[in-house]
């Protein structure tokens, strides 16, 4: 019975948890290990599942904590540039592709430079489509803190984009 619940409700979260872990750790094998540990932990607590408000929120929080522990042990809290991402549509012409790639590279750098809480909020909102309430639960924040972090994070990226754009226009 528990295994069926696990396969039906918990296992489908693996991609989402992996992405979250990957964005925090910047390393695919380590992100997979982290998520595997989280799932193993969730499985050992299967007697408590019925008491949890949201299994998804629990898993996300456990993933965050697991990754933060790993980062602390590693003492290199920066996210590496990922070579695994193919972000540009193949329809774009080479010049277009180059320009978009550069811009995306800058966006990534800007994201990495944001305070950790802003990064977490933006990733959960923009990449996983979480509501403010879900983000607040996962990150243990108030709704106001979620909104403030999202506002500041988005505007930091906007400023970085606008500055770059102006720089390019001058050149």
């Amino acid at each position: 019975m528990s295994l069926e619940v696990f396969k039906g409700r918990i296992l489908p979260m693996k991609d989402k948890l992996f992405r979250f872990a990957f964005h925090l750790l910047g390393d695919i094998p380590e992100a997979e290990d982290a998520v595997q540990e989280v799932f193993a932990g969730v499985w050992t607590k299967r007697a408590e599942w019925a008491q949890w408000n949201s299994i998804e929120a629990y898993c996300m929080t456990a993933t965050r904590n697991n990754c933060l522990d790993r980062l602390r042990r590693r003492r290199v809290p920066t996210v590496q540039e990922s070579s695994a991402h193919q972000l540009i549509s193949p329809d774009h012409d080479p010049h277009e592709k180059m320009t978009s790639k550069e811009m995306i590279q800058r966006i990534r750098q800007c994201m990495d430079a944001l305070p950790q809480q802003q990064q977490f909020v933006i990733r959960l909102r923009e990449m996983e489509g979480f509501s403010y309430n879900e983000i607040a639960e996962v990150l243990d924040m108030t709704l106001d803190q979620v909104k403030v972090n999202l506002f500041r994070g988005r505007n930091a990226i906007r400023q970085a984009l606008t500055k770059k754009e102006q720089k390019w226009k001058k050149q």
Partner: protein, 151 residues
């Protein structure tokens, strides 16, 4: 008209006032624009939404799901079940042996208040019967272990 709506949504977006639906509308609109067709002031934001879209499609490597399933101990789960089954078999066999009527009933009548009677008068015979029962249970347990090892 459409562009004005998008610019309006973008303003809400920067203020962190958009709903998830509005954010999806923005992302879908930027994704649908042919390359090079956007005004320069919007082009930069297309890259932003492309970045988010790309990041949201990152997936783990192949075989990840089966590794997770292995990690959550289905084998141990099975072993636990096997041990429980073996224990049950042992209990049933032991109960059968202990409640079996004695082969050589004694001349003395059994007291009415007694619920359980001795099944064997000869301790050697009783020991042999228990050994035999344990041997049967052990054989079944070993068969189960072999099945696991062979998997």
């Amino acid at each position: 008209m459409e562009k004005a709506m998008i610019i309006g949504l973008l303003e809400k977006y920067w203020q962190a006032e958009t709903t998830i639906e509005e954010e999806r509308t923005l992302a879908a609109w930027f994704k649908a624009q042919p390359p090079g067709s956007l005004d320069p002031d919007l082009e930069q934001y297309a890259a932003l939404f492309a970045y988010f879209d790309g990041e949201s499609r990152v997936t783990p490597g192949p075989g990840f799901e089966s590794r997770i399933l292995q990690a959550i101990t289905p084998v141990r789960h099975f072993q636990g079940g096997l041990i429980a089954a073996a224990a049950t078999v042992l209990t049933v066999v032991a109960t059968l042996i202990l409640t079996q009527p004695a082969k050589h009933p004694t001349a003395q009548p059994v007291a009415k208040t007694t619920q359980f009677t001795d099944t064997y008068s000869d301790p050697e015979q009783a020991l042999a019967a228990v050994r035999h029962a344990l041997l049967i249970a052990s054989v079944h347990l070993n068969e189960g272990r072999k099945q696991i090892t062979n998997k």
